[in-house]
């Protein structure tokens, strides 16, 4: 059986890759994919912990079965909604500015 720590390390690597991609890439599409990567890294930790606690029940401990997996479904739903809205925004930005480079989209400055 694969130990929990492996899952967590993998999850950490994926999350870090997501963060770095988010920070370093300039293309909005890539940044968007980095966000998905971070979300899925988190999903991985959720299911890993869920599985771990289901198989390592301490005596007298009450657990709610499948709670971790349910959370993952929530995250997926939100991510899907976010992808829909986010892609729509990206298309709108591209139509007005004809670029996907975030450094050119700096209107958040006062």
């Amino acid at each position: 059986m694969v130990p929990l720590s492996w899952y967590l390390i993998l999850s950490g690597i994926l999350f870090s890759l997501g963060v770095l991609g988010f920070l370093l890439k300039r293309n909005i599409i890539t940044i968007f994919m980095s966000i998905e990567l971070m979300l899925n890294a988190v999903n991985l930790t959720f299911v890993a912990f869920a599985n771990y606690w289901n198989t390592h029940v301490a005596p007298g401990q009450q657990i709610i079965p499948l709670s971790g997996q349910i959370f993952v479904f929530f995250v997926m739903v939100v991510a899907a909604a976010e992808a829909a809205v986010g892609l729509a925004i990206i298309i709108a930005v591209f139509r007005t500015r004809e670029t996907l480079n975030v450094d050119r989209v700096n209107l958040l400055k006062l």
């Binding site: 963060v19 988010f22 920070l23 370093l24 300039r26 975030v102 450094d103 989209v105 700096n106 209107l107 958040l108 400055k109 006062l110």
Partner: protein, 698 residues
């Protein structure tokens, strides 16, 4: 038998007059304004006479008659009520204030007829009456203090009546500020009384005097002495004693009736009244009494010498007032309170008369105040001449005029008192001589010789000595901005109208007969005033161990002379009369017989003369010692340092600091999404690191 006298009506009547004239007077005609002012003052006088008559000893009303109107301040066990008190002492004061005040109101109708701000003047004058009556009728120190401050306010308003003139406005401020210094000490004195006795009420079983009589004499410097000294210092401010007398001569910037009413007859005597009222405290504090006597003595002689060289007729009278107040202080200092109050009464008659007479003279010569430009007025204004003559004789202390009896009473008491003694008595007699000299100097210079109006070139000296007065004459002659400007086309010297002369004549009669209520026993009199006041001043000073000799002193200065010291009394009285006559003789010699003599003497003693002419440089000294350093301290430390540096620095610093911080933080909002993301990532990393640290250290 209980009567309700409604004492509160006495002060409230002038207050109503002040309110009507003050609020609506601008629209009234002058006759209407004066009618209102006179009506309410006269009603107040009448009510006072009726009230005094109702409780006159023998009427069956127990004195002091106390009227409680209700609570005013109560905090914990301390309470100060709205209460009025009428006893022998406040009877005299009330009658003097309302009586003389009423006469001066009448006089003012004529005197102020051509001045601007007529309604304002009468409103202030009535307001003054209200506060002064509150002061003398109050049954506790706190209410008395209300009146005390109120008369200070009225005095300020009236000194600065011609407020367009800088010297008048400055004199008003000076009077107010100098008085504040004394008031501060008065407050401390009251706090001490509250701390030790828990009350400020005069009479009654729990009152200050009943409680304090249980204490033994404070021969050292205990709290009773300190309290007495604080009260005394308060009195030096109001009654213009050394070291706080400097405001009174400058107060002559006010209209002459004001000088007569406030700065001669009534307000300045408030300090004397307060000390007499507090005699129970002072009697227990021999050191304080000693200091009161010394201060009175110094003031009397000091002010008298300054009066010698003044040439402004009102300033001579001002210094004379200071000097006479010194006499009253001296009387209080030797525990002869009745004598002090007696002199207060007679002084208010003849000094008010002198001031009003001087006003009449100024009126006659068209606003001139310098005596060197006067002269020969005897024939031109005969009524004024005669009343001023009576007042001059009265103040000089020549029998049988009023001043003689009261002054003799004081000097006799000083001679016998353990706090006085022959030295202080000698100074008092010398002062009497000087008083007589400068008063007859005024008299000769004004009424004899030749009229020199506008023909005398007054040298530089005059400008130096009488700077404010001279400046006044140089200033605009707008009726609003010029004190005592009566040069309004009457043409030539003229006698004042009867509305001004009538009060003069009444006061002259009072100055003549006023002393007869205090004819001492060695002159086969009964000294009624002493016996009248005796119930209030029941106890003389009872210094431990000296009680017996003191008792002798009190009884002998009470005029109950035993046969063996009758001769001595005659001798003392004779000496003071002789001093007065010598003063008269020298004044006659210098200013009538050979007018060139003073010139010769002053040129020989130039240094001393200049020093006296400049009033011993006291004003300059105060300026250098107190005013300038205080101004410098305020400017450099308090204004530039504390206010501009610390307070403004804190406020501006807070602003500058937040602006700087904001300027730095502004850089973070670059609009670059990735840098925002980096900040979020750093923040998230910091939180994670913190939580790890929490987990590790647990």
């Amino acid at each position: 038998m209980t009567k309700n006298l409604h004492l509160w009506v006495i002060p409230v009547l002038p207050l109503i007059g002040a309110a009507i004239n003050g609020l609506l007077g601008r629209r009234f005609k002058n006759t209407m304004v004066s009618a209102i002012a006179l009506l309410f003052t006269a009603a107040s006088f009448a009510w006072a006479v009726w009230a005094v008559w109702s409780v006159w000893p023998g009427s069956g009303v127990a004195l002091p008659y106390i009227e409680m109107l209700g609570p005013w301040i109560s905090a914990g066990t301390f309470s100060a009520p709205f209460g009025f008190q009428l006893d022998q002492l406040s009877m005299i004061m009330v009658l003097v204030v309302t009586g003389v005040g009423f006469l001066i109101h009448i006089y003012s109708v004529g005197y102020m007829a051509h001045e601007g701000g007529y309604y304002r003047f009468f409103s202030y004058l009535n307001l003054f009456m209200f506060f002064m009556l509150t002061l003398v009728l109050a049954n506790n120190y706190l209410l008395m203090f209300v009146g005390w401050e109120g008369v200070g306010l009225a005095s300020y308003l009236l000194i600065g009546f011609f407020f367009l003139k800088d010297s008048a406005a400055d004199a008003g401020k000076k009077a107010f500020i100098v008085n504040r210094i004394g008031d501060f000490a008065f407050l401390i004195g009251m706090f001490l009384l509250i701390q030790h006795l828990g009350t400020l009420t005069f009479a009654g079983d729990t009152g200050v005097f009943a409680q304090i009589s249980k204490y033994s004499t404070d021969t050292g410097w205990g709290w009773i002495t300190i309290t007495a000294l604080c009260l005394m210092f308060g009195a030096t401010g109001k009654s213009a004693q050394v070291p706080l007398y400097v405001w009174l001569p400058d107060a002559m910037e006010g209209p002459t009736p004001v000088s007569a009413l406030i700065h001669a007859a009534t307000m300045v005597t408030a300090g004397i009244y307060m000390i007499a009222r507090s005699h129970a405290i002072f009697n227990l504090a021999p050191h304080a009494l000693e200091i009161v006597a010394i201060i009175g003595c110094i003031t009397a002689i000091f002010a008298a010498t300054m009066g010698l060289t003044q040439t402004d007729i009102k300033r001579v009278l001002a210094y004379s007032t200071v000097s006479q107040l010194g006499y009253m202080f001296l009387a209080c200092g030797v525990a002869a309170y009745s004598a002090g109050i007696f002199h207060l009464m007679t002084h208010s008659f003849f000094k008010a008369l002198l001031f009003l007479g001087a006003g009449s003279v100024i009126h006659a010569v068209g606003g001139e105040q310098d005596m060197r430009r006067m002269g020969g007025l005897r024939k031109l204004i005969p009524v004024t001449f005669w009343v001023v003559t009576i007042a001059t004789i009265a103040i000089a202390g020549i029998p049988p005029f009023a001043g003689f009896f009261s002054k003799d009473e004081i000097l006799g008491a000083v001679f016998h008192s353990p706090y006085g003694g022959p030295v202080i008595w000698g100074i008092g007699v010398l002062t009497a001589g000087l008083t007589s000299f400068y008063m007859f100097r005024l008299w000769f210079m004004t009424f004899f010789g030749e009229l020199k109006l506008g023909s005398v070139d007054l040298g530089e000296e005059a400008h130096a000595a009488n700077a404010p007065a001279q400046a006044a004459h140089g200033s605009a002659s707008h009726s609003h901005g010029h004190a005592d400007d009566h040069s309004h086309g009457h043409g030539g010297v003229h006698e004042s109208p009867w509305v001004m002369l009538a009060p003069l004549v009444i006061l002259a009669v009072l100055s003549f007969v006023g002393g007869w209520v205090g004819v001492p026993q060695f002159m086969r009199g009964h000294n009624e005033i002493e016996h009248f006041l005796a119930p209030v001043m029941q106890s003389g000073p009872s210094v431990a161990g000296e009680a017996v000799s003191d008792k002798d002193a009190t009884t002998s200065h009470a005029g109950e002379a035993t046969p063996e010291n009758t001769g001595e009394e005659w001798l003392l009285a004779g000496t003071s009369v002789a001093a007065a006559l010598i003063g008269l003789f020298f004044a006659y010699l210098f200013y009538y017989k050979s007018p060139e003599l003073p010139e010769r003497i002053t040129s020989k003693m130039h240094g001393i003369y200049m020093m006296v002419l400049h009033k011993y440089y006291v004003d300059e000294g105060y300026g250098a010692i107190f005013v300038k350093p205080l101004l410098a301290l305020s400017t450099v430390v308090l204004w530039r340092g504390v206010d501009q540096g610390v307070i403004d620095g804190l406020v501006n610093g807070a602003g500058t600091a937040s602006r700087g911080v904001g300027n730095e933080l502004r850089q973070m909002q670059s609009g670059n999404i990735r840098s925002y993301a980096a900040w979020v990532a750093i923040g998230g990393a910091a939180i994670v690191a913190y939580m790890i640290w929490l987990g590790v250290t647990r």
